[in-house]
Symmetry: D2
Amino acid sequence: MINETKTFEKHESEIRAYCRAVPTVFKSSSNAIMIDENDKNYIDFFAGAGVLNFGHNNPKMKEAIVEFIQRDGVIQSLDMFTDVKRDFINTFVEVILKPRGWEDRKLQFTGPTGTNAVEAALKLARKVTGRTEIVAFNRGFHGMTLGSLACTANNAFRSSSGVPLTNVIRDTFNDMNALENLRQKMFDLGSGMLPPAAFLVEPIQAEGGVRVATKEWLQGVQQLAKDVGALLILDDIQGASGRSGSYFSFDDLDLNPDIIVLAKGLGGLGTPIGMLINKAEIDSAWAPGQHTGTFRGQGLSFVAGKIGIEFFKDEKFNEETKAKASIIRETLDNLNSKYNKVVEIRQKGMMLAIEFESASIVKEITTKCFENGLIAGACSTGEIIKLIPPLTIEEETLKEGLNRFKASVEAILD
Amino acid sequence: MINETKTFEKHESEIRAYCRAVPTVFKSSSNAIMIDENDKNYIDFFAGAGVLNFGHNNPKMKEAIVEFIQRDGVIQSLDMFTDVKRDFINTFVEVILKPRGWEDRKLQFTGPTGTNAVEAALKLARKVTGRTEIVAFNRGFHGMTLGSLACTANNAFRSSSGVPLTNVIRDTFNDMNALENLRQKMFDLGSGMLPPAAFLVEPIQAEGGVRVATKEWLQGVQQLAKDVGALLILDDIQGASGRSGSYFSFDDLDLNPDIIVLAKGLGGLGTPIGMLINKAEIDSAWAPGQHTGTFRGQGLSFVAGKIGIEFFKDEKFNEETKAKASIIRETLDNLNSKYNKVVEIRQKGMMLAIEFESASIVKEITTKCFENGLIAGACSTGEIIKLIPPLTIEEETLKEGLNRFKASVEAILD
Amino acid sequence: MINETKTFEKHESEIRAYCRAVPTVFKSSSNAIMIDENDKNYIDFFAGAGVLNFGHNNPKMKEAIVEFIQRDGVIQSLDMFTDVKRDFINTFVEVILKPRGWEDRKLQFTGPTGTNAVEAALKLARKVTGRTEIVAFNRGFHGMTLGSLACTANNAFRSSSGVPLTNVIRDTFNDMNALENLRQKMFDLGSGMLPPAAFLVEPIQAEGGVRVATKEWLQGVQQLAKDVGALLILDDIQGASGRSGSYFSFDDLDLNPDIIVLAKGLGGLGTPIGMLINKAEIDSAWAPGQHTGTFRGQGLSFVAGKIGIEFFKDEKFNEETKAKASIIRETLDNLNSKYNKVVEIRQKGMMLAIEFESASIVKEITTKCFENGLIAGACSTGEIIKLIPPLTIEEETLKEGLNRFKASVEAILD
Amino acid sequence: MINETKTFEKHESEIRAYCRAVPTVFKSSSNAIMIDENDKNYIDFFAGAGVLNFGHNNPKMKEAIVEFIQRDGVIQSLDMFTDVKRDFINTFVEVILKPRGWEDRKLQFTGPTGTNAVEAALKLARKVTGRTEIVAFNRGFHGMTLGSLACTANNAFRSSSGVPLTNVIRDTFNDMNALENLRQKMFDLGSGMLPPAAFLVEPIQAEGGVRVATKEWLQGVQQLAKDVGALLILDDIQGASGRSGSYFSFDDLDLNPDIIVLAKGLGGLGTPIGMLINKAEIDSAWAPGQHTGTFRGQGLSFVAGKIGIEFFKDEKFNEETKAKASIIRETLDNLNSKYNKVVEIRQKGMMLAIEFESASIVKEITTKCFENGLIAGACSTGEIIKLIPPLTIEEETLKEGLNRFKASVEAILD
């Protein structure tokens, strides 16, 4: 049976989505290459929605987890202590926290998905402040469970809740005027707006279309949060793990977030994990067990994730990311001048978005990409293609992928 | 460094909980045995909160996933098609759905945790009915994200939300009078109560203390749901995967749920997974991508989970479970008559709860269990010990574990 | 222009309701008689929905308010002090509060309608307890503004809100089993139900169809409220002012409510007023001006209302009410045995309801009543006729009205 | 007993407010003069919080209602037809609606207070649009019942609700930038903001401190409402009835509101009334009885209110108002230049606000006013004095009142 998809059509829910854009059955994958049952290869510019920063089946990680399994390591441990969890924590503290002077911060392992980590962050912020409201921004994406979904902006996702999405103040991302207006409301006893528990912000809105917040605006948000006694929560789920050319996507912005939310790339090999980095004085508001979950102790994610963190021991990996980012930008930059249906190109590190005139053009282009052996995904409300190859992609594969992408755009727009 | 826990105390969040009850560092585990860094062994009667039905590091599963990793199988695939996902689905359809006449039902892979699967089920029920309210029951546990948490009963968990938990009608589990009263309200135009979108029920409340719903009551709930045009959602997250001596915990109750929620044991080896089984006419209400998530395509869970499902190809495994369940019951039954501080013993299959007079006694006993080399956990509001060893536990390990348990109880209560 | 209704049909909102059942233009009224522009007289068994306990244009009250107007008394005073407000308060304290040992309670004048008074009571209960939930009962009616409407039971009214009606726990009126079940939930940490701020109860559900709570149940509600630290709020808006044969409808039930809500009959002549009677220790939670409103100081209502209160200086008025109540009951009692379409007759004092098999029968009967010169209104979900003549109705007018009613019933059911 | 206030202190709720600022017992009042029990006279620049546009005990109105009472007119009629209600409607149609081309609009009598009328308007808007959210503005005041309170801005009032105030989008009054930002959010599918049911606006924010919206901004609000399919609701409760020198406060702004909310001055003599003016196509969404209430048919308010409306038969009354408004402005204008603690003076017609540096200064000044025989009230968050004498005030009384006011200001600020 070669590339048989009937099983899915017959037995899987109508809700399935990505597989409709790439309708083939994959059987193996390695770094930036996926291979389907017909042995056709695809260059992966989607990377599991930003999870696979270190590529599919990263060899070091494979080796480590196979060894771990073969020695009967503890795969599922709730939040009990294990050797590999300790190694993971120690490595994260040494490589990531200490260089930033954040070694006093506390790591909280939540349910192993981004949305669960966001929900935990919201609870903590509300608990610490005794307040209910969260400020969230247009084009923001924070997950699909009810608490996170209330913070997610996209109306197509929101409408699926079936109940009111409450306790969120919606504002405009990266807009200094809107921020100033919000400040006025928050300090006006006659505005009807109470001070919020937290501002929840993505330094780079990835799913929102690679919208990169300015330093000025983020600093303004941080200052307003401080002034009204609210927390600053940075959702760096897709932006972190080196994607922007530094471990965190906001390393160059001189920010001091109260809570950082991580997931996706943190597990290294694509197995789930969710983690908060909390300031100690905030973390102490938790009582034991207040936000619990079965899958918080994932041995495989600790083992492979530790190797992922070690990529950042020196600046070499970040430098390589920046170099590849330049290749991408140089290759695609002229699309903007060549086609008036290309509205804008936005990039930070190896995350690049091309905004087209309409969602229908995007659909044609991504379909053509698939034919040409490239996996590229739409985001936001459909009018944007986001390119996020593995950071470890070989230079020549990257160039080949970019060629396939350009050929696909040309096929549609020329 | 032997059994060093300072890393956790220094760097991990105050919220950590289970590790406070079993304060040692585990390094390996096999079937029902966990071994710490001092080489002390523990018999595991908690099984990762009901995940490890097939034991730690089940040999067949280990072999399969090592082979999968070594051949560069697709570990993270969003909801794209992969060979191993197809195998998982086909096996589930053949082994579980077909014998029940349910081969037309649709499998929906949600974010890989129970709470995410519950959130998806709630969305679907609200979408299908155009209604908002969910009926949920006392002692019920459905997860910690905001939508699920609104259905979870325990006030200690609920209080952490920081915002109102809305759109849930709370009622009493397994109480025919309460059900009749609810029926009256729902058909009374002057009651102020609108028909709900769904009834969300655990056939066995596991976390709630192994409270086993009667067939009469569950049939009554199903009938009321039907009469008011609501869905019946069975949360079998902890009860399924053979725990009760049959694949589903409600196989003997002649029920026809609209949605079944699975997670925990479904992944086989303790890697995360979440899945709904939806009636086709209900599933068709979904539009593509309405409830999405990064980690819905977990290759390792498909590979190991498939092997888990195959345990149910014939009745042998279920018979063994029932036999072991009898051993547990026979060994512990006399505790009830011997100690008046033992309030009640409740059991279905290999899930057994002993309700004590107070949470403080339970704490003493579980601490003693840990000393004696047994991992046993409290549940509900702390006054109950729940014993859920791996189903695959060897008979002699089971007996040894029961001896350790009895010795611990005697040490405290004698 | 005789009895011209075109103005209303052309210029008044579609929402108009009572006028559709009695489609004539009234020009004057005196005690229990209303006269339309064709000089047809109607006996009024509806009394302005229970406002006109002392009849239309009560002569003593007329005289007093004309004198008040002619001496330029203060008609509108917000909550400033006026002579007539002082007289009203002093009279209420002397005649109503002192005999009950309640002279320490505080009178709070709210916006001049029942719903506004209920809203104020809810705020106070929530403020005192720091809790949010109110327990309210099926068939209860507490008003149409959003806070009150959330407590009102009738789904036809509720559905007009257009937004979720929240923070109310709905339970079953006058049902000891339901009350016991509620008690269990409230003391179970694993029920998901938090202790409420208050129980809001009508001792007699008037709009709900003259459902008279038993002493046992109300005492049970009072005890449960006390046990969970909640307030008992008695909504006696339609039941008080002598309607049941005593000033309060619950005078014979040995209750000690924390807040009593009054409106309707309190103003004497049909001008609006709303008032709470708060226990002093509860009232002290208010800060000045926290629930405000323009029309809290209604001079006309104070002047006429004071005369209304004076009716209760001795027991004579109550005795007369009871005697008339007996006449009503004796006259109508046989309807129940005579017609199987009469489901039940319920009465306390001069409030009597006849429940018929369906709302359509009721509509036919009330239409016939109108033809026969009797104003009688449906209530609850339409299947009930409620008879509430002025308490001051002359005995012969009462008998004539009852004859007209019986004739109307006979015309439809015979 | 002369000017005895002990009754109030002993028996009235702690919530009393205005009487704390004017601690004397009033016994009579005529046009703009109130007289206390010590025969001291006060010039009333507060006019019952904007109710008494035609003065205390307006002689024409007194005469008419005494005649009405003496002929046994129908004082309380629910929403039944009466002769005086018909006269009121016909007069309102002729004098107010026809000249504006609005004779097709429908009049809806709600519960007799502003807050009840606002609640009805919100229900209607939500019903017509099937949407839930209302846009309301900082410094707005719309009432104290839960639905209206959610639209009211002042946090001191909001905090008394005890429950979340939901389904309202808060924005900035009279701010074109904020309006433009709101427009962007409402047309952005990725903003997380759904189109609202209505915009609720006061053309002049009275309680908010006489903030007068510009024509440009109100037209912008109207256009945005139209563009997103929302209703425009103008709350003219305090602004209408001639206060600004025209019947409606927005007559000069070329607006076409879907719903106008009236109360306060509409009843003429200070007896309560509440009314909506609905576009016919909107009004038709109501089903009979969906928003009901006991006190919707107030005969006294119809009789006196009709006379109030007749003041607007020609422009003479409005011209007089404007002339008096000029006197006020001329007299007070120099306060602004003289005292730097006077921040701003704002006026439209006979509603004028003086914003001072702080609420404590205002308290001193209003206390001094009371000593000097002037009733003047603070508004907004306390830092503003609002002057709203009866429109019918004699010129010399007005001047005397202004002198008393200036003397009071000078006494404090000089």
